[in-house]
């Protein structure tokens, strides 16, 4: 018995080793492989799984859109290289915007850490240099948190990226490269991926005007801009205005290999993504975005004292129609605080 346990442990260790070499996540491999084993062994498996279950929520960055997270099997891998493609150089705004919104999501979990943006001189000349004021307004990234590195040659940019990818002191590394240079091959991306895995920090590889080619990145997303919805006012959408940034996202490659196309909208006030549905589901989507908080708050000792799940609105929320009653509601933590003592009594 003990022998089999030891042997199994060795097998798992080897599997993890293989998974590490192959660049896949060990828990993904271990779980299905262990399933058909007999009940005696299942005890061992549950122990292994429990250890991994603790690691799981941390391994993925949920994007916050259910359908997309499901297609990516839980979100974007956090400790990995992720490719974000733009089909043309003029899509640089959308590609950078999407990467920055992901960075913004990461910064929600690790506030205060700096972000390094590496680019070649060519891309900064062709697509524009990141503008700190705009980044602050749209993604909540403070200028003090930003570091830029501009390298005249691709080799240098890759070197900087490799050095940066292993730093745990950075929240994220963004490497922006144009076209399909020969140097950015499987080996170079594998190096980046391995370092990102070791450091546990994401590296976003933005590729402008690039053809998909084999790389070590587990996920490839193709981003284009989508027409924005008009700005919402209390009197309804304001015709002719340009609302929140919207992206059309296509999964080019992922662990689950599920295809999918999504239209996401970035909410700069809450720093979160919303999915925008197609026209046929527009009304349903509208209901979803409406504040579901009842106009009159429930009494504390009522039948259903679930915490109200209203969206907590940041102050300059221009885009969302706010019901007049919802505006008078206290924010979520306050609300639960005043509810709990009553429920006790």
């Amino acid at each position: 018995m003990a022998m089999t346990a030891v042997a199994r442990e060795t097998v798992f260790a080897l599997r993890r080793q293989i998974a590490k070499i192959e660049g896949t996540l060990p828990e993904r491999l271990a779980a299905p492989a262990a399933a058909p084993l007999d009940a005696d062994v299942n005890a061992d498996v549950t122990i292994v799984r429990r250890g991994i279950a603790a690691a799981l929520p941390d391994a993925f960055l949920p994007i916050g859109v259910e359908r997309l997270d499901a297609a990516l099997s839980g979100g974007l891998p956090k400790a990995a290289l992720s490719e974000i493609h733009g089909l043309e150089t003029r899509d640089a705004g959308a590609v950078a915007g999407f990467a920055l919104s992901l960075t913004s999501l990461i910064l929600k979990q690790m506030p205060g850490l700096p972000v390094l943006w590496i680019g070649t001189s060519e891309i900064f000349r062709e697509a524009g240099f990141p503008y700190a004021r705009g980044l602050h307004a749209s993604f909540g990234i403070e200028p003090e948190q930003l570091l830029f590195s501009e390298a005249p040659r691709l080799v240098d940019a890759l070197w900087v990226a490799e050095e940066a990818a292993r730093m745990t002191a950075l929240a994220a590394v963004i490497l922006e490269i144009r076209g399909n240079p020969q140097r950015l091959d499987l080996t170079a991306t594998r190096r980046l991926h391995a370092r990102a895995q070791a450091a546990g920090r994401p590296v976003f590889l933005l590729r402008q005007a690039a053809e998909p080619e084999p790389t070590a990145a587990p996920v490839r997303l193709i981003v284009a801009s989508a027409p924005a919805v008009p700005r919402g006012t209390i009197a309804g959408p304001l015709a002719g205005s340009i609302g929140r940034p919207a992206f059309t996202l296509t999964i080019g490659k992922s662990r689950t290999a599920l295809p999918g196309q999504f239209t996401l909208e970035w909410n700069p006030d809450e720093r979160a993504f919303d999915e925008r549905w197609g026209d046929e589901r527009r009304s349903e989507g509208r209901d979803r975005t409406k504040n579901p908080v009842p106009v009159v708050s429930l009494s504390g000792g009522g039948k259903n004292p679930t915490p109200a799940s209203g969206a907590v609105l940041a102050f300059p929320a221009v885009g969302l129609p706010i019901p007049p009653a919802a505006r008078d509601q206290p924010s979520r933590p306050q609300r639960t605080a005043h509810l709990s003592p009553r429920r006790a009594g």
Binding site: A96, G97, F124, L146, T168, A228, F247
Partner: protein, 492 residues
């Protein structure tokens, strides 16, 4: 033989021993010299190159003393006070200098004395002699007046009254001499005799700390140099610890066997004293300079100097012996990047108070890691005023706005209907604006172009891309120029 042009005639400015043997002299016309010896080889003088050579030699002389000064076009002053014992005494040091120069192919005269003036005279007029303190007078007395470093005009007038040696000037009463020949004469005399101090101003600032290692066998491999840097830095560490400082600027001097000196400087964004880290930084720098540093026959002296130091903040390590400071990691990372790719390789944006979008953010080279705990902000004038609806700003801005062709606008003051940018046509579906941003009148702009106001529009094209355009100038305005359109940035 080297010629130079003086008063419209080619003259000899310098000549070698073999030319001297032919009875050619300085300042002789080239035509005369040619007439005497048609086979002589004449080279045009190149004072710039001479200067560079002298500077190179001065760099090399750094191995003897940090205080090296240039003296005219053909001399060097070395202040060896306190340095001679490192080379085994004055005579040994002088011999070492002379033999090394000789092996490099230079014909050098040297003199060593207690005053710069006496040493100058000794080097030029008696050759390779050492003048002990107090013997300056005996040395100078028989020498011609030229040994006193005085103007040629003064010298000729002195000679015209029969004062031909330095000794002759020392003897007579001083007041009449000063009245007739100027104060400089007596000043030079006093300086040479040590009655007045004369400061030799060194070429380079003296490093507060430096450590060096003479090598019996020259090194050529970069790895060896890096290892040496590590060893030197370890020595440096104790000195820095004693002073409670860390290095901000470090220079590595590599003295090649044949006299060439390579100077490699690195800057750190935080005071640093850890030998491993210093070695790492030099590793990057040396890797970047691999093409430029020619080891040749090897380096026989390696010196590491601290050019600038700053107070070192000691950090308390936790019980596991680990100092958790992300800022230090980033500072080191930035230093390494900068060591390899240059100062501008890591940039940090800074908000500037300005209305013009391109001026509102400046990027500066990274100096220190952004602190996690920002100090309480004073009423910050650098931040844009907090308005309820802050103006939308793009996420990417072009370094210089790109001109676009706008064939038509709906209204003269309105947004364009379509535009052509980088040879592609874009159809505008929606537009917001204008947001008028005026030029900063309090700034000298120079051109009328830059001084005109801009009307910014936020537009979306048929594919959903969002751009930031502006029109410079007004339709039907006072200016003669028609308004022009530019694309300044892109939105997410």
């Amino acid at each position: 033989m080297i010629s130079h042009r003086d008063r419209n005639a080619q003259r000899i400015s310098a000549l070698d021993e073999r030319a001297e043997a032919l009875h050619l002299k300085r300042d002789m016309g080239i035509a005369d010299a040619r007439a005497m010896h048609p086979s002589i080889d004449i080279v045009e003088a190149d004072p710039e190159a001479d200067r560079r050579l002298l500077e190179g030699l001065a760099d090399w002389c750094d191995r003897y003393t940090p205080l090296v000064a240039l003296d005219g076009a053909d001399g060097l002053f070395l202040d060896v006070t306190g340095c001679t014992h490192l080379f085994g005494g004055e005579r040994a040091m002088l011999d070492d200098i002379l033999s090394r120069f000789f092996h490099q192919g230079f014909d050098v005269r040297a003199g060593l004395a207690a005053t710069p003036g006496a040493a100058w005279a000794a080097a030029r007029f008696c050759g390779d002699c050492i003048v002990a303190g107090g013997e300056e007078e005996a040395l100078l007395a028989p020498l011609p007046l030229a040994a006193l470093r005085i103007e040629p005009a003064t010298r000729t007038s002195l000679e015209s009254v029969g004062l031909r040696t330095a000794g002759a000037v020392m003897a007579p009463p001083r007041a009449p001499l000063a009245r007739r020949f100027g104060a400089l004469l007596l000043l030079r005399l006093d300086q040479a005799l040590g009655r007045l101090d004369e400061a030799v101003s060194p070429r380079l600032p003296v490093a507060p700390l430096s450590v060096e290692r003479h090598l019996a066998e020259p090194v050529t491999l970069t790895e060896d140099i890096e290892r040496l840097v590590g060893m030197l830095a370890a020595t440096l560490k104790t000195d820095l610890e004693r002073r409670g400082e860390g290095a901000r600027t470090l220079a590595l001097l590599l003295f090649r066997v044949d006299g060439a000196v390579s100077r490699i400087a690195i800057g750190t964004s935080r005071p640093m004293r850890e030998p491993m880290l210093i070695q790492k930084l030099f590793h990057e720098r040396l890797a970047a300079l691999e093409q430029d540093i020619d080891a040749g026959y090897g380096f026989d002296l390696v010196r590491l100097s601290v050019l600038a130091a700053a107070t070192f903040d000691m950090q308390q390590a936790d019980l596991a012996g680990e100092v958790t400071d992300d800022g230090a990691d980033i500072a080191l990372f930035a230093d390494r990047i900068r060591a390899r790719l240059g100062e501008g390789a890591v940039l940090r944006p800074v908000a500037v108070e300005s209305h013009l979008p391109e001026r509102a953010v400046a990027t500066i080279p990274f100096t220190d890691a952004p602190r996690r705990t920002t100090p309480p902000k004073k009423p910050d004038r650098l931040q844009a005023p907090k308005t309820l609806f802050p103006p939308e700003r793009p996420i990417r801005l072009f370094r210089s706005p790109e001109p676009i062709d706008v064939p038509a606008t709906e209204m003269p003051e309105g947004p364009p209907l379509n535009f052509r940018w980088r040879r592609a046509l874009y159809r505008v579906t929606r537009a917001e604006g204008p947001e008028r941003i005026a030029a900063e009148w309090w700034r000298e702009t120079g051109s009328d172009e830059a001084a005109s106001t801009r009307d910014y529009f936020r537009i979306e094209d048929a594919d959903g891309r969002r751009y930031w355009l502006y029109r410079q100038g007004l339709y039907g305005g006072n200016s003669q120029m028609p308004p022009r359109w530019f694309l300044h940035g892109v939105f997410a």
